[in-house]
């Protein structure tokens, strides 16, 4: 039997006494990393869009946007409005949570007017004839320091008259 090198304790470094858990702990932690990757694959961390819609007698509104995004990412929200009855002044009212900590890169087509309505952003889309369809695209980018969950409220008004509202959630991962 050869004398072991200095610093080597045979029971611990050759027979691995007290080190049985090592590979299992490593495997468990690797599984944790794999789990995070799988959650990413299935879209838990964004930014797969989902559609939410609401219907009222004068119009329907559908919003397609991601419910989870990450800091710095660009994403799109698409608002599809279908008027069953003529709307004199279709107005989309977005709660401040749509914009807080998020940069609005563009709104297409440009609304006729933008205004603040009790802290919310009111986008005037103008007259919508009965049976017409209006699609509004908004492009956003999450500010890198923004994180957390929030509730996004979207309301469709005809002038000041509320028609319908949609509430969605948005999770922003760091």
């Amino acid at each position: 039997m050869a004398d072991q090198p200095d610093g080597i304790v045979l029971r611990r470094h050759r027979d691995l006494e007290g080190r049985f858990w090592g590979p299992w702990l490593r495997r468990a932690l690797l599984a944790l990393v794999a789990l995070v990757a799988i959650l990413g694959l299935v879209g838990v961390f964004g930014q797969r869009p989902s559609t939410t819609s609401a219907e009222a007698a004068p119009a329907t509104l559908a919003i397609s946007a991601p419910t989870a995004v990450r800091g710095g990412l660009l994403y799109q929200a698409r608002f599809t409005l279908e008027a069953s009855q003529a709307l004199t002044d279709a107005t989309l009212v977005l709660s401040s949570s749509w914009l807080d900590g998020v940069t609005v890169n563009t709104i297409e087509p440009s609304p006729l007017n933008q205004a603040s309505r009790d802290g919310s952003l009111a986008l005037s889309l103008g007259h919508l004839p009965a049976g017409s369809k209006y699609v509004l695209f908004m492009e956003f980018q999450v500010n890198p320091t923004t994180v957390g969950s929030r509730s996004l409220l979207t309301q469709l008004d005809d002038g000041e008259q509320p028609i319908l509202a949609i509430k969605r959630g948005l999770r922003i991962f760091p």
Binding site: M1, L16, P144
Partner: protein, 146 residues
């Protein structure tokens, strides 16, 4: 403050990854490993500084990582039990010419890799090895028989 937290998280996460992927994977630097290292560095940089191009951001991120590196080094030096967790421990792979297969398997090492290591240490046979030890750095030390 945000960039300091990001840098600290990146440091902790990379440290955690290097501890769980296995020491052999980290000790070799084949061309593929080198490229992956650069790619990893780029990914980490994006997560830490994001769109911050300022010198202040550089100082904050690099300073945080340097301080954490010194802290880990001090803890390694000061506390033996913590060192076993943070840095790992050596594992004997060959004793008196006899390959310890269970220890090889634990580190996902093949006999071929062991033989390659021996050749790099000017040993043409594992039977001529008195001790082979996989160090916590991932390098294999070969001590030949007298």
């Amino acid at each position: 403050m945000d960039i300091v937290l990001r840098a600290a998280f990146a440091f902790a996460f990379i440290f955690f990854l290097t501890r769980i992927v296995g020491r052999r994977e980290l000790s070799s630097l084949e061309p593929f490993d080198l490229i992956m290292l650069i790619v990893l560095g780029d990914l980490v940089q994006q997560g830490v500084t994001q769109s911050d191009y300022s010198v202040t951001g550089l100082v904050l991120a690099a300073g945080t990582i340097a301080l954490l590196q010194v802290a880990v080094s001090y803890v390694n030096y000061r506390f033996r039990r913590v060192r076993q967790v943070l840095a790992g421990e050596p594992i004997v792979l060959i004793e008196d010419g006899r390959v310890l297969e269970a220890n090889l398997a634990r580190e996902r090492l093949t006999r071929g890799e062991l033989e390659e290591g021996a050749r790099q240490s000017q040993l043409d046979s594992l039977e001529k090895v008195r001790w082979a030890v996989l160090e916590s750095s991932g390098q294999i030390s070969f001590i030949p028989k007298q």
